[in-house]
């Protein structure tokens, strides 16, 4: 509960509420959309792992904003990129926003990934739409000359539109799909587990792993990494009201030395990225 004051200072300087012009809106897979927004203030300050809180339309129904990870931020052009999956009403409406329209965007919000030191061995594991924040991370890693083992999983081949992009950054992602249409036939964590066990592959223990994806995937991953004592950072999701730490909706359990063994921390200001070791995984 030390969040009062501490998490505040940063945001006073770093977050903006702006009307952003939709530059591009493109369907890039089944229910998957790519959106580009003109948002110079936000693009300038964003770091990988941060998110934006978006109003999907000017109407008051649906009422609440929707959080989306920053898929990429182009400082020079002042543009933000998002990759999102249509799952309900809000994302459905968002997918119909046309270039030329303005959307209210709040951001950049939250704490992003703590980047590795030069020379550190890094692993990046993404599942489904959880790949979104990792692409921005990989871009920064590439820019910093840091190589990484990349594992990306999805339901099916067409849900992996970011693959070529990640490849062009110089990474050689290992891929898994639930239906076997691309890469390993099965879950990405199963592929990773196989690789970790396969002595022929000479799996090198990374200094830091970065992950984002559905809860069950993150849980399996946590089990694997905790067993091998590999430090990791995960980006979590929780339903959000404000996005700025005011409503205390987006609570997640973080281990603590108190009676209960945990404290509630908040995905929007204390996260979305948390040290994997500190997350209470049984509950998540």
């Amino acid at each position: 509960m030390g969040s009062i004051g501490t998490s505040v200072k940063g945001r006073v300087e770093l977050s903006f509420l702006i009307d952003a012009l939709v530059i591009k809106q493109e369907r890039v897979g089944p229910g998957l959309y790519f959106m580009e927004l003109q948002a110079p203030e936000i693009a300038r300050k964003a770091v990988p792992g941060q998110f934006v809180h978006m109003q999907v339309s000017r109407e008051l129904e649906p009422l609440l904003r929707r959080p989306f990870s920053i898929y990429n931020a182009d400082q020079d052009k002042g543009r933000l990129e998002l990759l999102y999956q249509v799952v309900g009403k809000g994302t459905e409406i968002l997918s119909k926003a046309a270039p030329g329209q303005n959307l209210s965007v709040l951001g950049p919000l939250g704490r992003g990934f703590v980047l590795p030191e030069k020379g550190q061995k890094v692993m990046v594991v993404g599942g489904g739409i959880g790949i979104a924040p990792l692409v921005f991370l990989l871009k920064e890693l590439a820019a910093g000359g840091i190589s990484a083992e990349v594992y990306l999983g999805a339901r099916t081949k067409t849900c992996l539109p970011s693959l070529s992009q990640v490849g062009s950054m110089g990474f050689q992602p290992k891929v898994a799909s639930d239906d076997g249409t691309i890469g390993y036939h099965g879950q990405i964590t199963a592929l990773l587990e196989r690789d970790m066990a396969d002595t022929a592959i000479a799996f090198l223990k990374p200094d830091m792993a970065y992950a984002c994806g559905p809860k069950p995937m993150l849980k399996s991953l946590a089990r694997l990494l905790l067993a091998k004592h590999i430090p990791f950072q995960v980006s979590l999701e929780e339903h959000m009201g404000c996005g700025v730490g005011a409503c205390l909706s987006c609570a997640c359990k973080i281990k603590a030395n108190n009676q209960e063994g945990y404290l509630y921390r908040h995905v929007c200001v204390n996260g979305p990225v948390f040290p994997g070791e500190e997350v209470v995984w049984d509950e998540a």
């Binding site: 509960m1 009062i4 004051g5 505040v8 945001r11 006073v12 300087e13 770093l14 977050s15 903006f16 509420l17 109003q55 008051l60 129904e61 649906p62 009422l63 609440l64 904003r65 209210s104 709040l106 929780e238 339903h239 959000m240 009201g241 404000c242 996005g243 700025v244 730490g245 005011a246 409503c247 205390l248 909706s249 987006c250 609570a251 997640c252 209960e260 404290l263 509630y264």
Partner: protein, 305 residues
Amino acid sequence: MKPELSVNIGGIKMKNPVTTASGTFGYGPEYAPYIDLNRLGAIVVKGTTLKSRQGNPTPRIVETPSGMLNAIGLQNPGVDYFIERALPFLSNFDLPVIVNISGDTVEDYGLLAGKLDSASGVAGLEVNISCPNVKKGGLQFGSDPESAAEVVRVIKSSTGLPVIVKLSPNVTSITDLAVSVAEAGADALSLINTILGMAIDIKARRPVLGNIMGGLSGPAVRPVAVRCVWQVYKAVKLPIIGMGGIVSAEDAIEFILAGASAVAVGTANFVNPRATVEILEGIEEYCRKYGCRDIQELVGAAHRQ
């Protein structure tokens, strides 16, 4: 000509009638990046309890048609922490700080009032006897006129600060409550708190919220809130802070015409972090447009037509 917007809420001088709804605005710093806090008439901070509280299990929030349910469960670091760590930030601003307090017992309320009485920088207390999201206390005091009066008497005997009592709409007669706390010495009233509701996940076949039930807020509840303000304005003479679904200046005016002397903006902050300031500007504009020189002219005006 600039209309006179200042109001006096039971002894708390506000430079304009726009304040924040407890629990929707944190402790101030959360929204400082987006608005100048000095423009607010007052700030009402997150509900504070004697000891720190972890709050309810997640999910704590679910969106509903033109509204949302919340079951935060009064997560807060406790009154001492609040006084030491959150209050100092607010002393940088020129605005009355109203502390929303919740107790499990009548004694809790007295102790809270006592501690806040001696803290510097507190302009008044908003007494939450209407929180639907906690097991003990909360709504139980708020649904019985006698218990509510008892809470008020204990608080009044523990502090000289203005006492605003926040009432619940989850009762058969909100006016009975209002009359009872008025007689017990309340200086002002806040209404409404959230309406008890719930949502069920039809795939998982279980309640969505970790706490099962939660409190409904947002535009959906506005007609209920306006009705409560209307009824209470008729029944008691105390100043009222009206809230419940206010997202625009028009909504705020509706509450003022119904009898509210001030308005609090809640859920709307989540949708538009600048909502408070935009509502204030809209109220000013309404006054200019309709030749209203003092906001007082509008308070309860719909009763006089």
